[in-house]
């Protein structure tokens, strides 16, 4: 998984399966946030299981509480969208509407 600090927002591109093996990455991620807007790109993310959902929820809560940042999600597949709807992820982070997912502003 890569992280690229943006000019006005933080940008994290997630890759591959998100599951228990991703725990270390998501535990450390909130400390890397510097801006009040954080964008997560799921275009290269694959399967996200229930443990992956738990890690995302914990990470997003930390970012919102400690950094007071808004979280946007882009590149979501229909499967990601359905999973996030049914597990409450969208209560913490908003999907970027189609056509508004440009990466402008990145450093």
């Amino acid at each position: 998984m890569n992280s690229q600090p943006a000019e006005r927002f933080d940008y994290f591109a997630l890759e591959g399966t998100i599951d228990a093996q991703s725990e270390g990455y998501f535990k450390d991620l909130p400390a890397k946030v510097r801006f009040s807007l954080v964008r997560f790109d799921f275009a290269k993310a694959g399967r996200i299981n229930s443990m992956g959902i738990a890690l995302l929820l914990r990470c997003f809560k930390d970012i919102r509480e400690k950094n007071k940042a808004e979280i946007l999600l882009e590149g979501l597949s229909p499967m990601h969208t359905m999973l996030f709807k049914m597990t409450g992820v969208f209560l913490l982070a908003s999907p970027v509407v189609s056509g508004a997912s440009g990466k402008g502003g990145m450093a």
Partner: protein, 316 residues
Amino acid sequence: MRRMQTVAVLYKDEKDKKLWETTLKGIPGLLSITVNSNLTVSLERLRRVATSLRLVILSARLYPGENPELVARIRNLCPGSELLVISSSGEPSPQLMPLFVDNVRNLAIGTPEGGRSDSEYLPAIVSMLVDRSPWEIGSCLREGTPIHSFQLDSTEDKESLIEALEVVLSGDGEEYELLRQKGALLADELLENAMYDAPRGTQGDKLFKKGKKRDMLPQERIVFSFGFDGETLALKLTDSWGSLEPDVVMEYLARNQDDGSIADDAGGRGLFIIWRFLEQFHVNIQPGQETVVGGHLHLSSGLDLEAPHGFHITAH
């Protein structure tokens, strides 16, 4: 000779009866009761055959919404009967919390027109409940469909099993791609549940942390099975722990349905996801011996979050 009535179905009214009667008409020993606002008379009819009844079917138009006390009254009349709630796929999913509170562990979803799959599926479910027999993976597949079974040696086997499933689901187009993604997620959740949630110590504590690599214990048996007949995918995971409890499964489904919980440690999220992605979800538990979790979904199932889904949670 008059056949003994072993199954009773309670409809709300004539319109409700018409919705289901084609699908249910082939069930042997079926007593149909149309309540028509007169529950007392209907329950008296039920009482007369109570001793022979093995299963009482309730339309979701009657329970839990309009008659939340109905299950308690039926249990009082027919303590030996199993209960099955039937709900139309065209109507909102019944709220699960009342079913959890009433210990109703069977919910079947049918199409309003009583389609081909219902005409086969619902009688099979009724037969399973009347006979108190466990769900079989082949029951929802075309005859002759090969069932692929793999016994795990290590948690490292998970990804290769998911790949084997994806190979069986090879095909072009969006429907196949979605089925492969759903199948992979279902396999992941089923396997994780068996590898990390099922193993318990004598005090009920979890033996292994999720994500920790391990070999199966000498006496431990985890078998993953699946079959695909070109339209229906059936999956089944058997573990030799038998540690899952029916009440706990129902509580997980009901609480996750109610909350849309954002608690990162919400219990049973994996089972909730399995239920939501399967058309029918089956759990069969032999306490301390074996747990079977599985079900089926269709190539054409799609991704409708609001679509109701059934379940059958049994313990023997």
